[in-house]
Symmetry: C2
Subunit: 798 residues, 2 copies
Amino acid sequence: MKSCWLSFPPLFCLHQIKSTKHTLPKKQRKRVRQRKSYNSKQHLTLHSHQNNTHTTMASTSSLTLTQALLARAISYSSSSDTTTPRAIHLPALPSFSGLKSAPRASSSSSRRRLPARATRRVRAQAVTLDATAETALVEKSVNTIRFLAIDAVEKANSGHPGLPMGCAPMGHILYDEVMRYNPKNPYWFNRDRFVLSAGHGCMLQYALLHLAGYDSVKEEDLAQFRQWESRTPGHPENFETPGVEVTTGPLGQGIANAVGLALAEKNLAARYNKPDSEIVDHYTYVILGDGCQMEGISNEACSLAGHWGLGKLIAFYDDNHISIDGDTEIAFTENVDKRFEALGWHVIWVKEGNTGYDEIRAAIKEAKAVTDKPTLIKVTTTIGFGSPNKANSYSVHGSALGAKEVDATRQNLGWPHPPLHVPEEVKAHWSRHVPEGAALEAEWNAKFAEYEKKYPAEAAELKSIITGELPAGWEKALPTYTPESPAEATRNLSQTNLNALAQVLPGLLGGSADLASSNMTLLKMFGDFQKDTPEERNVRFGVREHGMGAICNGIALHSPGLIPYCATFFVFTDYMRAAIRISALSEAGVIYVMTHDSIGLGEDGPTHQPIEHLASFRAMPNVLMLRPADGNETAGSYKVAVLNRKRPSILALSRQKLPQLPGTSIEGVEKGGYIISDNSSGNKPDVILIGTGSELEIAAKAAEELRKEGKAVRVVSLVSWELFDEQSDSYKESVFPAAVSARVSIEAGSTFGWGKIVGDKGKSIGIDRFGASAPAGKIYKEFGLTVEAVVAAAKQVS
Amino acid sequence: MKSCWLSFPPLFCLHQIKSTKHTLPKKQRKRVRQRKSYNSKQHLTLHSHQNNTHTTMASTSSLTLTQALLARAISYSSSSDTTTPRAIHLPALPSFSGLKSAPRASSSSSRRRLPARATRRVRAQAVTLDATAETALVEKSVNTIRFLAIDAVEKANSGHPGLPMGCAPMGHILYDEVMRYNPKNPYWFNRDRFVLSAGHGCMLQYALLHLAGYDSVKEEDLAQFRQWESRTPGHPENFETPGVEVTTGPLGQGIANAVGLALAEKNLAARYNKPDSEIVDHYTYVILGDGCQMEGISNEACSLAGHWGLGKLIAFYDDNHISIDGDTEIAFTENVDKRFEALGWHVIWVKEGNTGYDEIRAAIKEAKAVTDKPTLIKVTTTIGFGSPNKANSYSVHGSALGAKEVDATRQNLGWPHPPLHVPEEVKAHWSRHVPEGAALEAEWNAKFAEYEKKYPAEAAELKSIITGELPAGWEKALPTYTPESPAEATRNLSQTNLNALAQVLPGLLGGSADLASSNMTLLKMFGDFQKDTPEERNVRFGVREHGMGAICNGIALHSPGLIPYCATFFVFTDYMRAAIRISALSEAGVIYVMTHDSIGLGEDGPTHQPIEHLASFRAMPNVLMLRPADGNETAGSYKVAVLNRKRPSILALSRQKLPQLPGTSIEGVEKGGYIISDNSSGNKPDVILIGTGSELEIAAKAAEELRKEGKAVRVVSLVSWELFDEQSDSYKESVFPAAVSARVSIEAGSTFGWGKIVGDKGKSIGIDRFGASAPAGKIYKEFGLTVEAVVAAAKQVS
C-alpha cells in the first residue's frame, strides 16, 4: 500500500484533498485505475510511514472517488494549482536541499529548480474502474523497460539483457509506484535509495532513471550504452550517473552497500527525528540475484542487517534459477528462504514475478508492515522473459540477443516500436515524477525549515551531515605531541584521534570486525549501534571484514558528511580488498583503521603479519595509503583522511609502542613525504635515509650513528606516497634532490615499488618473504631490520 | 560407535581376534572400560566404514569379553605378537606409503619406520566394567590438554588459552577415540584429516599431536610455543609442523580447506575404490568457532559442501558465545543451526560440551551414519573452562591467564602437576597410538599392494596422486605454436592446455566461480563433480571466489599429486586474496586461471578491469605471477605452474585475441624474462622494450617501427618477474645489460614496481587510474597504450 506522501498528520491530507477542484486528465485516470489492481480490497488509506498506523479514509470522511482522483491530479499540474489552501503555503526553502557535492557535469541549476508552488498528492486506492486498461499500461511500461534494455545491449553488442527482461515488473513498481525521489535532484537527502546489487543488469536501472526523468540518462545516453565517456557504463557507477547510489557489478557488494545505507538511515533517524518531525525517513530497496546470494559478503552483511533489525531495508531476490554457467542447480541448491529466516529476516515469496504485479505490490506492503526486520522478497522470474528462444537460459544473461532473436522477442511481446522507443502513453504516464519529485523535495525542505526553527542545534548537525561541510575549526581537536610525550603504539594514538574527532564530527561513526580492543576503535562517549540503540555510533561488525567494508561504502555514500571508519588487522584487508577497491572507485571516503601493520605484531606469526600490503595499496588507484610513525603523524593522517571525502584512506598502525620523533608534524603528513631531520647544507646530503611508520625510528637512529661519523644525513618520512606524488616538482626536488643517488629505505614490508624512490644506486631494506612467529624484537633482528643494517647500507651507497 | 580399524570384511577381524592369546595390560583394561561409557548398550560391533553396515559380533560369534580385550591388546605390543595367524602375514610393503614430499626438517626415517609385523586391533565396546575409573582417565587426559595449553601460553606470555580449555573434550575424543592416523607418518595417505579452523586455538592441536606421539611436537616444542624457529608457531602451519594439514588462523579458511579435503576424498574414492577394495576412505574433521561462522567464506564453502553432499565431512562448531569483542550477542544473533540446515547439512547440538563426553561420542556416531550430508555438531562449550575468574569471558580468548589465575585454575580443576606435565597414566593411555598408527598404515599398505595387483592402471594413477610424482613425459602434452598459428585469446589457449594436461595428469581437477564459459576452464572429456557424479573433474564453484580458493588449498594439500585449478576474472582475485595468500604461505600449488586480465576486456568497465593486480601479486611472497603473451607462453606458463607444486601460480589471461609472436617459447617462460627479438649486437641495443601478456605485441610492433628507423632494438617478454629474479646474474645481464639504461616498459596495468626494471632513466607506460567502460580498442587508445606511445618513449630515452 502506498504511503501518504506527506509526513503531516492524515487530516492535513484530507484537508488538501477536499480543497482541490481540478478535473482529471485521461492519463491520470489510467494511473488511478492502476491502483485498483494494487489492492482492490482497500479503501483509500493513509499510511503514516514511520509508526505504521493506518487511517482508512472511507471510514473517517465522505471522500468520494472523484475527490480522490482530484487529489492525485494536483501532483501533475502544479501551475494550474490556483486554489491553494492555507496549509499548502510553503515556508521559504532552506538554502540547501540535501545536495551532495556536485557530480561530474551534473546540472545543479536543474537540480535546484522547484515548482513555484510545491504540490501534494495522495494516492487513491479504492477506485472501482476497469483494471484492464490500467494493467495494459503497466505492461506497456514494463515492456518499454524490457526493450530499452534489449535495444541498448543490441546496439552496444555487449551487455546483459536477461536480468532487465525478468526484473522489469519489480523495477516498474518500485520506480513508478513505490519509491520517493526527485529526478531533478538525485541527491535530495530524504530520497528512497535503490541499489541494483546485480549490477550487470544496469540497463534496468538506466531504463528506469530514463523513464523517471533523470537528466543523467537521456535517450542519447541510452544510445551510448557502454561507450567511451557515456553516462551509461557497463555497470552502475555512482560517480558517472547521478541517480545511481553506489557502484555495483562485483557481486554481493550492492546488497552490503544497501545494508550500510539502511544503517545510516536508522542511525540518523534515531539521532535527529523528533516526536513532531520525522526529518529522516526513507527506505532502501535492493535487487540482488543468485550471484549475489552465493557470495559470502552478502551473508555477512545480511546477518548484520538481521541482527540490527533494519526494518526499512527491502531486498528483492531475483530468483531466476540461471547463472552464467547454466542452471543454478549445478552449484546453488541451498534453501535461501530458510537461510534468510535464520539470519533474522522476514521472507516473502512472489511465485510469479514476470506478471504478478499485484503480488509484488502486496509483498512490498507486507515488507513495510514488518518494521523490526529487513525483508527479503524472493521473486521468481524468468531470465530474458519474452525472448522465445533464449528466455530461461544462460545465453540471455550476458550477451546481446542478436537481431533475429530481438525481432522474435518483439513479435512475441507485441512490440512494434523501433529501437529505444518509449511510447507516448508510457512517457505521459511517467511524466508526473518530475513535478511529484520536486514537490516531495519542497515538502521536505519546508519541513526541515520548521525543524531548524525548533531544533537549531540538531538541524545544524544534520545539515553538516547532509552537505558534508565540516564544522569550522574541527581540526583543532587533533592532538599534537612533542618528542617528550610518552612512547605509544600508533593504534592507541589512533584511538585518541578517533575519540577527539567524534566530538567535533557528527558524521563520524564506525567500528571493528571483532577486534575493537585490539584495533582501539571504541568511541568512549558512545554506546553500541544496536537494534534498540540505533542512535549510538560504535558499530560492532563481528568477524565480517568484507561486509564491513561494503557497509561502510554504503554509509559514506548515503550522505557526504557521514564519515565511516572500520578496522581490522592490516593483513586482513585481504578479506575486504574488493570492498576497499569499490571505496576507491566510487569515491567513498571511508577511513580504514588497520592496526598490527607489520611483523612488529610478533607471535601471531605469518598468517597475521602483512608483508605485501603496503605495496598492494600503493598500487591501487585513488587510495591514500598512510603509515604514520608517531603521534603527530597519526594526527596528520587523520586530518588527511577526514579531508579526503572522495577517496578512502588506509591507516597502517603499529601494535608496538613507538617514540615521539623530533621533526614529525601534521603538515609534513599532508605533503606525504618530508624531511624530519637533516644535518646537510645546500640540499646535498651524503645520504638520504627514508622510512615509514615504525621504521622511521630506525632510520632516525641510523642517522644519528652516521652523523657521529661525520656524515651529512637527511631523514625523510614517506608517510603517504600518493600525497607526495601530488606535490610540485620543486618540492619533490627539495626532499629527494636528483643529484643525491645515495638513498636507503627501510620499511617492514615488501621492497616492491621502492626501486623508484631509492633509484638505481640506492638500497631498500625490507621483507620479501613471509613473516614468522616469535617476539617482535627477535623477528626484526633476524630479518635484518636494524639500525646496523641501515648504517651499513648507507655506507655502501654513499 | 567405533569403526573396525580394518577395511577387510568383518570375518577377517573375527578370525584375527580369535587367534590372539595375549593378556591385557592394566592400561588397556582402562581403555576398554572407557568404551563402555561411549555406548554401553552396544554389543561389540564391527562397523564397515564406507557402506555403513554393521555386524554385531555378539550375535554372530561366541566372542567373549576376554577375547575382545585380547583383540585390543594386539595393537599395544607388536613385538610380543608371536602367534600370528595366516591372515596377518602381510605382503611386502609397497615402496611408497602415502608420503608427501618431505617437509622442512622432518625425519623421513622415523616416518618410514614400521613395526616388523604390522598389527591389528578391533575395539571392544560391550564390556561391562565400571565406568568411573575410565571417565576419570578421560578427564585427566582432557585436563592434560587444557594445562598444556594454559602452561605453554603462560610461558610464551602470548597466545589463546580459551579455546583449548573449552574444546579439550572434543579434541580428546577425536584424537584418542575416533581418528585414524599414524603419528610416525603424518603423511600417510589414508589418514583422517583434522583442521583447526579456529587456528588461534593451536595449542589444542599441538597438545593433541604431542599426546598422540607425533615427533613434530615433543615436550621441548611445547616449551618453545610461539618462539623463533619453533615447530609450534602462533597459528597452525602445515609447513612447520607435520601433523597439521593446512595453515589456519585467518578465520573461515580452515572450514573451507576442510571442504576441499573432503571433496578430494570423495573424488578419489569415487575414482579409485573398487567393490572389493575401498582404498580411499577417510573422514575430514574440523573445529570452527564463532569467528569462522561469521566470515562469508565459511558460508560459501559450507553451501558447496551441502550441495555436494560431503557426508564424510564432520564439523564441530565450538559454540562458546564469546568472541574478542565480548559476547557474540553484540554482533552475531543469527540462528546458525537453521542456516546450516538451509545449506543442506545435518545438524546436531551437543548442549554440554565441557563434560558431555558421551553426547559428543553419540553425535559423531550419528554424523557418520548420515552419509549423504556433511554434519555440523554444534558443541556448546565454555571458553576458558576451568578458569574460575576468566572462563566465559573474552579475557581468556587471546591472552595468557596470568600466574595467579593459572594457579586458581590448577586449584579449581585439581591439577597438582608442574607446567607442561603429562601424567604417566595419560602418557600410557595415549601410547598405543604409535603402534596402532603403524598398524593402520601397514594394513593399508598391504591392501594397496593387493589393489595394485588387481588394478595396476588405477594403482599407478593413484600412486602418482599420492606421491606427487608427475607421469613421465607429461610435458609433451603441452601444445606449441608457430607465428603462423591463428591469433587466439590466451584464455582460449589456456583451455587447450588444461584439456591437454587433464589427459596426462590424473590429479588435475578444478573449475570456475560461475564463469566457466568465460574463463574457458571446462575439461571437455569430463563431466561435473556433483553429489551423484563425484568421480568427475569439472568443479562448479558457483559465484564463490573466496571459498573456491580455500577449497583448492584443501585439495592441493590433500595429496601432493592433486593439482587443483580455479578461475574467475583477474579483478576478482580481490575476493579471494586471503585464500591465495594462504596458498602461497602454506605451499599449496594451486593454479589460478585468471582471465579478462586488463582493460582489454572492454565494456564491462572499471569494476571488472584489473589495474593494480599484477603489481599486488608480484609483491606477494611465494607466488608465481605469470602473464603469457601467446600460445607458447601460455603453454610455458602451464609447464611452470604444474612443476611448482609448492607455490601457487596465477595466470593472467586475455579476453581478447592475440597473435602468435615470433620468438616466444616455453623455455623462455621458464626463465621468467627473455629476449623475443633483437637486432643489436654485442649486448648493446639502443633501447630495450619490455612487455608482458597482451602488450608484448605492442612492444614487438614498436620495435619494428624503430628498427625501420635504424635503431637497434631488443624486445623482452617479462612474463614472470619472480622466475626472472631467480636467474643467475649473468643471465640477467644478458637480458638487461647494466650499460643499457634506455628502457621502455608497456603493460596494461599499474606502473607500480616497474621503476626497478626500467631504471632511473627508463619509462613505463601503464595505467595508474581506474579503467573505463568502452570497447577495448578505444580504451587502449585513449589510455595511451599504443605503438606510437612506445615509439615516442623509446626515442625520448635513447
